[in-house]
C-alpha cells in the first residue's frame, strides 16, 4: 500500500545518507506536529468537560444499551435487505442490458442511467414523502434502486471483460446463449468483480445511515435520542465517540474483506481469462478505470 522507502519511485530516488538524515528530521518534525494536533483535540475535549461522569453515565444503563443495540440491529436489517434486493435487481438489469432484444436493452439502459444519476437521498425522500411509504421500506427501496443500478453496470462490465476467446469457444462447442452466459461468462465475471461488488455493498451499508433523515429508528437515530437527553447533560460528544467507532469499524471490516477477496481471487487459477478488479466501488462516469476491468 505505502511506498517502500528503500526502493526508488517515479518521484524519489533511493535516499543517500544526507537525504536519509533530512527525511528523519522531517519525520521528527511532522510527528511532533501531528502529536500536537492530537493533544490539542484532547485538550479541547477535556476543556469542554466531555469526560465527566454525568455525560458517560447513560451508557451504564441497560435500557440505553438495549436502545443502541436495537438501533444497530435495525441498521443491519436494512443493510441485509438492501444488499439482497440490490444484488437481485442488479442481476435483472444486467441481464436486460446484455439482452439480444433492442427494446429490452434500451429500457434497462434508461433505468440504470436514471437511477445512477439521481442522488439516493432524493429517491428515498420521494418514496417516503410522495408515495407515503413507511421509513424502512422507503430506505430499502431507495438503496436498492441506486445500488442495483450501479451493480448492474458492474456485472455488465464484468461479463464484457472476460476474454473474448472464452465466449467464442463456448459458442463453437454448440452452447446456446443462455448456457454460454450461465456456465462460462457469469462465473468468471462474478469472480473478477467480487471485490467491486463487496465494495459497493460497503456503500450500501454507509448509506443505511440516511435512514436517520427519514426518522427510521436506526443506529444514528438511537444515538440522537441519547444525545438530546437533558438528564445526562446533553452527552453529544460521548455519543459520537461511542457510535462512530462501531459504524466505521463495520464498514472497515467489509472493506478489508473486499481487499482480501481481491488478493485471493488474483491468485486463483480460475481467474486466468479475466482481470480481477481492484476493491473499489463502482464509478459514476463513463470511461472511468474501475469497474471496467482491463483485458489481460
Amino acid at each position: 500500500m505505502t511506498a517502500n522507502p528503500v526502493e526508488s519511485t517515479a518521484l524519489y530516488d533511493i535516499p543517500g545518507p544526507h537525504t536519509r538524515r533530512r527525511h528523519r528530521m522531517y519525520g521528527v518534525v511532522s510527528t511532533v506536529l501531528i502529536l500536537a494536533l492530537i493533544g490539542w483535540v484532547l485538550y479541547l475535549l477535556f476543556d469542554t468537560e466531555q469526560f465527566t461522569y454525568t455525560k458517560w453515565m447513560p451508557f451504564e444503563y441497560k435500557g440505553i444499551q438495549e436502545l443502541l443495540l436495537r438501533g444497530l440491529g435495525n441498521t443491519l436489517k436494512a443493510f441485509a435487505m438492501a444488499a439482497v434486493l440490490s444484488l437481485t435487481l442488479g442481476t435483472v438489469l444486467a441481464t436486460g442490458r446484455l439482452s439480444d432484444h433492442r427494446p429490452v436493452r434500451w429500457i434497462s439502459a434508461m433505468v440504470v442511467e436514471f437511477f445512477r444519476a439521481m442522488p439516493v437521498l432524493v429517491m428515498i425522500f420521494f418514496i417516503f414523502v410522495a408515495l407515503k411509504v413507511q421509513p424502512l421500506p422507503a430506505l430499502v427501496a431507495g438503496l436498492t434502486l441506486y445500488n442495483g443500478s450501479v451493480l448492474a453496470e458492474v456485472f455488465r462490465s464484468g461479463v464484457n471483460s472476460v476474454e473474448r476467446g472464452q465466449r467464442e469457444a463456448a459458442f463453437a462447442l454448440g452452447l446456446r446463449k443462455t448456457q454460454v452466459m450461465t456456465y462460462v461468462l457469469a462465473p468468471q465475471a462474478v469472480r473478477s468483480m467480487l471485490p467491486t461488488i463487496i465494495s459497493q455493498l460497503v456503500v450500501a451499508l454507509k448509506d443505511t445511515s440516511l435512514g436517520y433523515l427519514i426518522t427510521y429508528e436506526e443506529f444514528l437515530h438511537a444515538g440522537k435520542l441519547i444525545a438530546s437527553n437533558l438528564d445526562y447533560d446533553l452527552p453529544f460528544i460521548p455519543v459520537v465517540m461511542v457510535i462512530s467507532p462501531i459504524y466505521i469499524g463495520m464498514c472497515m471490516l467489509l472493506s478489508w474483506f473486499a481487499q482480501w477477496v481481491s488478493r485471493w481471487e488474483r491468485r486463483s487459477p480460475k481467474t486466468e481469462a479475466v482481470e480481477v478488479a481492484p476493491a473499489e466501488p463502482g464509478t459514476l462516469l463513463r470511461g472511468g478505470v474501475p469497474p471496467t476491468a482491463p483485458r489481460p
Binding site: T9, L121, L284, L285
Partner: protein, 214 residues
C-alpha cells in the same frame, strides 16, 4: 408544470445553494485531497501514516454520521459558524479521501523509469514533479476525479436535511404551500440532473482534450 413557474425563485434559490455547496466543497476536496495524496507518497513515514489513516477512516465513515458529528458536534467546542460552512467542511473532508486515492493511483500509473530518466538528465525534484510526473498523472486522473465530484454533487443533498438551503430542501416549503409533491420532486430531479450532467460534460471535454488511455 406550474409548480416550477409559480415558485421559480424558491427553486432557483435551492439550485444555487446546491451549486454553491458543490463548488466550494469541490475546491476544498481537491486542495485537501492533493495535500493528502502528497503525504501518502512522501518518503517521510509519519506523514504516510497520517495520510493513510485519514483516507481509511473517512472512506469508511457514513456521510450522515460525519454531518451529524460536524454540524451538531463542533458547536459544542464553542466553534460557531453558519451551517453552510460546516456542511462544506464535512462534504469537502469526506470527498478529499476519495480524491486523494484517485490522485495517488494516478501518480502510481507513471512508470518508475520516467522519474529515473528525468533524474538522470539532472532534473531537480521540482522539475521532475512538475514537468514529468504530474503532467502524465493528470491525464489518467481525469475520469476518477470527475466521478468523485459527481458523487459530491449528489451527496450535497444530505446538507438539505440538516437545514442548509439547497435543492432537495425546497420540497418542504412547496409541500407546505400545497403544491403537487410528485411534480415538485420531478423538478428537483431535473435540477440534480442538470448539475451532474454539467460536471460530466466538463470532464468529458477535459478527457477528450488531455486524457490518454493507459
Amino acid at each position: 408544470m406550474n409548480v416550477l413557474t409559480d415558485n421559480f425563485s424558491i427553486f432557483a434559490e435551492g439550485f444555487l445553494g446546491t451549486v454553491e455547496l458543490t463548488v466550494y466543497a469541490s475546491a476544498l476536496a481537491l486542495a485537501l485531497g492533493f495535500v493528502m495524496a502528497s503525504f501518502r507518497v512522501a518518503p517521510v513515514s509519519s506523514l504516510r501514516v497520517f495520510g493513510t489513516v485519514w483516507v481509511t477512516v473517512l472512506r469508511n465513515t457514513p456521510l450522515t454520521l460525519l454531518f451529524f458529528a460536524v454540524l451538531l458536534g463542533l458547536p459544542r467546542f464553542g466553534l460557531v459558524l453558519p451551517f453552510k460552512v460546516f456542511a462544506i467542511l464535512a462534504l469537502g473532508c469526506y470527498t478529499s479521501a476519495f480524491i486523494c486515492e484517485a490522485l495517488r493511483s494516478g501518480i502510481n500509473t507513471v512508470p518508475k523509469g520516467q522519474g529515473e530518466a528525468a533524474r538522470s538528465l539532472g532534473m531537480t525534484f521540482h522539475q521532475t514533479l512538475s514537468m514529468v510526473v504530474l503532467p502524465q498523472a493528470f491525464r489518467s486522473v481525469i475520469p476518477p476525479v470527475g466521478s468523485t465530484l459527481i458523487a459530491l454533487a449528489k451527496n450535497s443533498a444530505i446538507a438539505g436535511a440538516f437545514s442548509v438551503t439547497e435543492l432537495l430542501g425546497t420540497y418542504k416549503t412547496l409541500s407546505e404551500l400545497g403544491y403537487n409533491i410528485v411534480w415538485t420532486f420531478f423538478w428537483i430531479a431535473v435540477g440534480y440532473l442538470i448539475i451532474t450532467l454539467t460536471i460530466s460534460a466538463i470532464f468529458n471535454v477535459l478527457e477528450k482534450r488531455w486524457g490518454v488511455p493507459r
